[in-house]
């Protein structure tokens, strides 16, 4: 068992909910019960309409690479209020990896304790974080050429600072950008997109509120490598009928293509920025990293 060494409060505390929200939920529950008594048909007819954007519209995305100076590669990504930081270390040698023919990929997602105002996150890794780490791992491992780096390990660490929905999409995108920034050889960058289905509407790029609107709502996550037109990961959870699945997968594929174009543009911009900086008098970083790559290949 893991022991937490951090200082804590001996008193049990909880996050208080909003009183208005509580009253509203109580009312809704009573209504539902009444309806269920009147008719035998299942209700669950929650209608929801987006106010500020269209159903298939994305929120504003901002990303920047190379902001953690200590890491080999890093990326900070913001989808409006959702904020994610990813840093990549490696490929580096560790005593454990001596036996591996290919590089080993480690992926770790952590929520900051203050990242959510509904859910409590501990300092220790919980099951949700483990599960999401694995999803990210599976999404990006297909894109990397790990056979180029034998006996090494590539570490990907992701920290969620603010959770306002679509954390997985941001994390996968940030991880892929950070890996590209670190110069790890890959077939293509992985772009990702998710959707939530509420009744008939398919909401792309949902907020935290939309994600928790209905329990058991259909959720779809697609990660793909757009230039190869390969899907690296497809996850569907919750109740959805067949036609809805096809439709949302198509919508998500379109969405990832859009994200990919932003990623590509950002990577080009960051390279140009670096080149300009190097041109100002410092030694050129590009050459040294290339030389290191060549050595690795030999």
């Amino acid at each position: 068992m893991k022991i937490d060494y951090r200082s804590g409060n001996s008193i049990k505390t909880q996050i208080p909910l909003d009183y208005k929200e509580y009253l509203k939920r109580k009312e809704d529950k009573q209504q539902q019960q009444q309806q269920q008594q009147q008719s035998t048909q299942p209700t669950g007819a929650i209608t929801y309409k987006r106010k500020d954007r269209l159903d298939e519209q994305f929120r504003q995305i901002f990303m920047k690479t190379g902001i953690v100076t200590q890491a080999s590669g890093s990326c900070y990504l913001e989808i409006e209020k959702t904020k994610v930081l990813c840093s990549v270390y490696g490929p580096r040698a560790t005593p454990k990896t001596e036996l591996f023919e290919t590089a080993k990929l480690n992926c770790e997602l952590k929520y900051a304790t203050f990242s959510s105002n509904k859910e409590k996150f501990d300092y220790l890794e919980n099951t949700k974080e483990k599960d999401q780490s694995l999803i990210i791992y599976q999404s990006i491992i297909g894109s990397l050429r790990l056979d180029k780096y034998p006996k090494t390990v590539v570490d990907v660490y992701i920290l969620v600072l603010n959770d306002d929905g679509d954390v997985l999409v941001s994390a996968i995108t940030a991880a892929s950008m950070a890996l590209a920034d670190a110069g790890v050889e890959m077939y293509d960058m992985v772009a990702s997109c998710s959707a939530v289905c509420i009744k008939d509407a398919t909401l792309i790029n949902p907020t935290a509120q939309e994600e928790t609107l209905t329990e058991g709502a259909g959720k779809i996550l697609v990660s793909k490598m757009p230039s190869h037109n390969n899907i690296t990961q497809l996850i569907q959870t919750g109740e959805l009928n067949y036609n809805n699945v096809l439709e949302s997968v198509n919508l998500c594929i379109d969405g990832s293509d859009k994200i990919y174009s932003i990623m590509k543009q950002n990577l080009i911009d960051s390279l140009l920025r670096q080149q300009k900086k190097d041109g100002d008098g410092n030694e050129i970083n590009g050459i040294t990293t290339n030389a290191a790559d060549d050595q690795m290949e030999e």
């Binding site: 200082s7 909880q14 208080p16 100076t69 200590q70 900051a112 990242s115 600072l161």
Partner: protein, 279 residues
């Protein structure tokens, strides 16, 4: 030149220090550019982001409600409530900020820094009434201050102290309703309030000692090479709240005096920085 730096880093530094400059172009007393922004994280009650050079730190404060331990009716209330802490500070130096740290357990550096900050936070005389959840104070707010390092390039102590202070200034608490025992709700119709932290700022500055030279605001490389480190923290009344010296050699009296003077000079800058962002 690069090879010389890699093989004999200390000699490399000495060559610079003899001429009273550092390899990154700063003089011995220069402090890296310090920036601060508050309230960027929407899911918590108060937050701040501090950057000193490349070192960046994000601090978020999570407010939770709990019942304080029952106070003895006959006992002196004020004495007990003073010893009772409402703020808990924790520092996370995860693997994300540097490859020197692992994710499995908190590093010694993080734990010692956390203890120092916890000791320091009790010096802020915040009235107990500020933490009342309802009017009578049956339940209280407890603040969990979490400091995450995002980029570790030396002088983490200064960055975390500034981040902690400005995040606390940024905290907004709401009055609440207790419906049943152990059922707490925020009442969004009531006005929010801030903690009354006045005239109680912390002004920190750290130094690294290499040979006989004192370098203010050391970067990671300098911290690694140094034989000792000094941290001085002043409060608004120019009293020393925290003075730490760790190192193998002793420190001369006039060196320490010089350090104290340098920290005093930093006073106005930090004061202005925190106030401007929180007005």
């Amino acid at each position: 030149m690069e090879a010389f730096q890699k093989i004999h880093p200390l000699e490399f530094y000495r060559k610079f220090l003899e001429r009273s400059v550092r390899p990154d172009g700063r003089s011995l007393t220069d402090i890296r550019k310090t920036t601060l922004s508050v309230g960027s994280i929407t899911t918590c009650s108060g937050s701040s982001f501090v950057k000193i050079g490349n070192t960046s730190v994000v601090c978020g404060i999570r407010a939770e409600v709990g019942e304080p331990p029952s106070i003895n009716q006959t006992g002196i209330v004020s004495n007990q409530s003073k010893n009772h802490s409402y703020i808990f500070v924790n520092v996370e130096l995860g693997p994300i900020c540097s490859n020197a740290f692992s994710s499995s357990k908190p590093s010694e550096k993080a734990m010692s820094l956390g203890t120092q900050l916890n000791a320091l936070i009790n010096r802020l005389d915040i009235p107990t009434t500020d933490f009342y959840f309802d009017n009578e104070g049956k339940a209280r707010w407890y603040l969990y201050v979490d400091i995450y390092c995002l980029d570790y390039d030396g002088n983490i102590t200064d960055a975390s102290i500034i981040a902690m202070l400005s995040a606390l200034k940024n905290v907004t608490l709401q009055q609440g309703i207790i419906v049943e025992p152990n059922q707490y709700f925020k009442d969004s119709e009531q006005p929010t309030r801030k903690l009354s932290i006045q005239n109680n700022y912390f002004i920190p500055l750290s130094f690294a000692v290499i040979d006989d030279y004192i370098l203010s605001d050391p970067c990671l490389e300098e911290e690694k090479l140094s034989s000792g480190q000094i941290t001085i923290t002043f409060n608004e009344n120019q009293e020393i709240c925290l003075l730490l010296y760790t190192g193998t050699n002793g420190i001369a009296d006039d060196h320490l005096k010089k350090c104290i003077q340098l920290t005093k000079n930093r006073f106005d800058f930090i004061n202005k920085l925190v106030n401007e962002n929180n007005s």
